[in-house]
Amino acid sequence: MSVIIDSSSIINSYIPVAVFLVVSLLMPPATMAMVKLVSPRSKSPNKYTTYECGSDPLGDARIQFNVEYYLYAIAFVLFDIEVLFLYPWAMIYQGTSVDMVTAIVEMLIFIFVLLFGYAYLWKKGALKWMN
């Protein structure tokens, strides 16, 4: 596989990213400014009410969220971190710096320990939607 770009200048590969970031920050406001120019305006209080199938909205919509979401979030954190460790491992797995068997065994131990956590979550019902 050929290295297409000189990766020593990492900064160079992020210049487009920065430009895109700026563009993406500017594009919606620019669009909206255009809309401002061309769109009609007629004020009426009913237009600004929150939609609730036509009836008057009751109370605040910004409610506390359910516990279920939280448990998923914890599980997510657990496995996302697992993936975090998988990425660098995947990089060196093919390399020459580490013995391949060692790499596999160590990762299997890691995943094996993680599976305990997974089994625990499952059995405890943390992965069950509780509505």
């Binding site: 939280y70 979030a73 914890i74 954190v77 657990l78 971190i81 975090l84």
Partner: protein, 99 residues
């Protein structure tokens, strides 16, 4: 870029976190401030890693991210217990334990 810029960034982020931790009472906010502080340390580690041309710092940062995640999970769990019991997450109002 000179190393100092990264260090300054890290110091600023750390100070923001510390300030938030000291001034806020809301548990979630405090948690976020702690995460900020940990991340500022990560910036340091990664910057030093690049500066010293040594991978240890980056590996360290990975580990510390994992730890920060676990810490957040536990923090939320505790906050949730508080919320269930007291219906609020104001850390200042926890005052059973004192003399």
């Amino acid at each position: 870029m000179p190393l100092n810029w990264y260090l300054a960034l890290s110091a600023i982020v750390f100070s923001i976190g510390l300030y938030g931790l000291m001034t806020h009472k809301n548990g979630i906010r405090m948690l976020m401030c702690v995460e900020l502080m940990l991340n500022s340390a990560n910036i340091n580690l990664v910057a030093f890693s690049s500066y010293n041309d040594d991978m240890t710092g980056q590996v360290f940062a990975l580990f510390s991210i994992a730890i920060a995640a676990a810490e957040a999970a536990i923090g939320f769990a505790i906050l949730m217990s508080i919320y269930r019991m007291r219906d609020m997450i104001d850390v200042d109002k926890l005052n059973i334990l004192r003399w």
